[in-house]
């Protein structure tokens, strides 16, 4: 073929048309989403928990649940001020400091209350975290990304419920290494940890460990679904939440 200006312009035109079409095909290949939600996962618009303190109010019973939770998540056992805890218990005045009255029923006042991260609708810990290591999932769970935690402990200062623990030392020193849960990681020194509402179990269709072990004293479900178990219980029973004046809107409710 003779190399003329005319043939060159023709070929350039064809090449330009081809280039205009080619990127679309490339984009379609890039748009392939390689991940999806587990088929067995259970979903909610906003996960919430209701704790029936008429059934669950002794230190022994709560310690049993804490032991199950701590074993499942490899939470170290450390005595004293540096303790790490996901689920624990405390007295009425410590649990509901603003909701006391001087002539309260003695039976209620003497109860012991199970405590855990409240997974607030308006979580101050998330607001103050400078690295977004703690964040709120679309389903309301306040989660921790230990890969990103820099250990600044702003979240601990922000949490009005003391629900977070800091790993001052190597948390593995506080673990029974022969009796670990190999399905769940441990933590490293210098990160903040807390209850995660068992996101790893919800992802495979199981309820949280404490709810399963509580024998009906804890209810778990979708707060936004009027037919869910938690909404049914909330409709029937009088419940209170911790520190309402903090305005954090906890997702953990207590039947008194």
């Amino acid at each position: 073929m003779k190399n003329s200006r005319r043939t060159f312009i023709k070929l350039a035109g064809i090449a330009a048309a081809g280039l205009a079409l080619a990127p679309r095909k490339g984009l379609a290949a890039e748009g392939h989403e390689p991940v999806k939600v587990n088929a067995t996962a259970i979903h909610a618009k906003h996960w919430a928990m209701v704790i029936d303190t008429t059934k669950l109010n002794t230190a022994e019973a709560i310690n049993k649940l804490a032991a199950a939770c701590h074993h499942d998540h490899n939470v170290p056992h450390i005595e004293g001020k540096q303790e790490v805890k996901w689920l624990w218990h405390d007295t009425y005045p410590h649990t509901f400091p603003e909701q006391e009255n001087p002539h309260m029923a003695e039976e209620v006042h003497e109860r012991v209350f199970p405590l855990l991260c409240n997974h607030c609708q308006n979580p101050p810990c998330v607001r103050v975290c400078p690295t977004k290591a703690t964040f709120q999932r679309p389903d309301g769970i306040v989660a921790m990304d230990y890969h990103r935690c820099i250990g600044c402990r702003y979240c601990m200062a922000g949490c009005p419920y003391g629900s977070r623990s800091f790993n001052w030392g190597d948390p593995r020193l506080g673990l029974d290494l022969g009796n670990l849960n190999p399905e769940f990681p441990t933590r490293m020194r210098g990160v903040v940890e807390k209850c995660n509402f068992c996101v790893e179990r919800l992802a495979v269709g199981k309820l949280p460990v404490c709810v399963e072990a509580s024998e009906g004293a804890m209810h778990f479900g979708d707060l936004m679904d009027p037919d869910s178990e938690v909404r049914k219980v909330l409709r029937e029973k009088f419940t209170i939440r911790r520190k309402p004046s903090a305005g954090t809107e906890p997702s953990v409710y207590y039947i008194i």
Binding site: V35, K36, P138, A143, L180, R187
Partner: protein, 126 residues
Amino acid sequence: MYNGFAIVAGLVIFFAMLTAPFALGTMTKQYKEPELKLPKNEKECIESTEYMRTNHMQLLNEWRDWALRDGKRTYINHKGKEFTISLQNTCLKCHTSKADFCDKCHNDAGVSPYCWDCHIQPEGLK
């Protein structure tokens, strides 16, 4: 040349030191990829060997964000096969030895990823 001997001797020493790594490099053995202990029961990894060799770090990095932050815990590989996203429950179910698999290359390459500060190695903790 003023101070000629000192200058020439200095230059010789300087060039000797400059070229020493190249000279030593040709004398020592060629780098050989370490022989890894591959899983007995599984023939194929979640992606091809070449892909895993070059991209496993990016893949693991993406996995942790997908699982933890996006809540998406099922991975669909390039062939369309599905896997649960989990270092401990998927990768380490086949690769049952950190020492025979991970450490061999990592030691040679002089990298020490901090995966094992939190994740439990398949041998268990000691």
